[in-house]
Symmetry: C2
Subunit: 323 residues, 2 copies
């Protein structure tokens, strides 16, 4: 905790996922040098963790086919955990050869989504990830598991809380350090988040628990409040809100980092993140990816980015009323 | 309270503002018949209140120049309060002649915004609104006052809490029934909302207190949670999220009704509002106004609007990973 005046600011830990979770959904390839420059910029922003890239097959995700080059050439900032997504043993070996700090494994807690997304049953995914864990354990590299559809599956609907806790249990038993509960398609709502986070924290006090929200239905920041209330201190977020939702064309995906940081800092939390630096990085995204990003605050500015009085107040009709 | 199973659902009261606060910002005139048809549709949705139109000068807001015709021809549903914005005595007389249930008066609690928006000092606005109150008092028509910039002014920044409470006090002394605290340009954040709502509720227990949030920086639903926590039960919202923010081109304005209702009902509140009917009404907006609306849920659907398994899961690369 950091002491400010006579009150303590609670420390939160943010993981920036835009260069993996965001970029993997981009149709156009982003130059390796541009990726490196962006990650270096993010390294100076104060994040606890950056999910740099994904060691998947270059055929499966060509957008991230430069994973080795990116990991090799970024300048690592002290204190930042550089994590990468790893789907299988081959990916783990590639990641280990790049000296990553952490590997992030992914499977869905709903059978349908796992089959749709990973083309395997959950048991097949678990077996594959267990092999990854066997490969990584003992190397000093940390292991996190991201559990997709933890707050709802777009094909099956609600996922029973006990199912989510059951998968956490199986990975905890394999000795992973962290689990991320992912609201993959933005189905979470605050009351649900509060209960899930309380139950998960109580059951797995030794695990580093991270929440990954999507803003698909506008609730990402409300869900964040609910998670904070339940004691969660680790959150994923994506610069500019990058990263779409394939089940809702045109809708936003990942919670936007700069909107998350803006709210959390205003509410008195210490995110470690420099909001001005993040906004500066986010402002470069449209030029990099060739299209607009969902970030609202990038358009509106911070709440105290004030405006000049309009050049009259001429031009404003006498009875104009905006409440 | 409505009893559902063994728990009681807290009753909330929603005021739909799209046809006033939204339509007044539209460049193209919306046909009177289309306005009437939409309001009739909204009347069947279960809102506690609908802000139908504005009795401002037709020159100042030509978009709402048909206020009399609209008020005259809508079919009023029993139990719904039909309110209208009124800027001055002339507007009040027009509104009274249309047999409205409530008039809504507006001024800003920050001097700069009042001058920019209404071209008057706050004292001039107060004097004018006092005359309106004198005109309406005793007619049986309710009076609500919407206080703009209550959570921040885009020109001045923070507005002291005591300033907000001071203006509430002056209007309470004139015998108004309700006050709406407006986050006019989306500057509110949850900790601030919690404190403002607690203080305002404590000080003015006899006033009907409504909160009006904008989603300019993504926090509208998070701020709603904070207000609920402080005991607030009345909220403004705008179908489709209609109603822009002149200080943030491209950013969203009013909180979106269907996103608000979706979250509140999921969290176990009784809004009285039929979400399916509201979504149906919102889906007609783009055709009516000629452009897209900010509503995310209109793109993504409700959380349990499920999707079929993709026609494979062929086509999904084996290692595709979306967390």
């Amino acid at each position: 905790m950091t002491t400010i005046g006579n009150r303590e600011k609670k420390r939160l830990y943010l993981n920036e996922v835009a260069t993996r979770d965001g970029f993997q959904n981009e149709a156009a390839f982003i130059d390796t040098d541009d990726k490196i420059a962006l990650i270096d910029r993010l390294s100076a922003c104060g994040y606890a963790k950056i999910e740099v890239t994904s060691f998947t097959s270059p055929k499966a995700i060509p957008a991230l086919r430069d994973a080795e080059a990116v990991m090799h050439d970024i300048a690592r900032a002290p204190g930042v955990v550089y994590t990468v997504l790893v789907p299988n043993v081959r990916g783990a070996e590639r990641a280990l050869s790049c000296n990553v700090d952490e590997v992030n494994l992914v499977m869905s807690v709903s059978e349908s989504h796992n089959r749709a997304n990973l083309r395997m049953t959950r048991e097949q995914s678990f077996a594959q990830l267990r092999d990854v864990i066997d490969t990584v354990r003992g190397t000093g590299v940390a292991i996190n598991v991201s559990l997709s559809t933890a707050m709802g599956c777009p094909m099956e609907g609600d996922v029973p809380l006990d199912t989510v806790l059951g998968w956490m249990e199986r990975f905890a038993a394999l000795g992973v350090q962290g689990v991320t509960l992912c609201d993959t398609t933005g189905m979470a709502h605050p009351a649900q988040v509060r209960e899930l986070c309380k139950r998960a924290s109580q059951a797995f006090g030794a695990l580093e628990l991270t929440l990954h929200f999507h803003n698909t239905r506008g609730m990402a920041l409300a869900n964040t409040l609910a998670a904070l209330e339940a004691g969660i201190v680790r959150f994923d977020a994506s610069l500019g809100g990058l990263g779409g939702c394939p089940y809702a064309p045109g809708a936003t995906g990942n919670v936007c980092t700069e909107e998350l940081v803006h709210m959390l800092e205003l509410d008195g939390y210490d995110t470690g993140v420099d909001l001005a630096a993040v906004l500066d990085a986010a402002a470069r995204l449209p030029g990099l990816i060739g299209h607009d990003v969902p970030s609202q605050i990038l358009k509106a500015g911070r709440r105290l980015d004030l405006h000049a009085m309009p050049a009259h107040a001429q031009g404003v009709p006498a009875e104009r009323t905006l409440s």
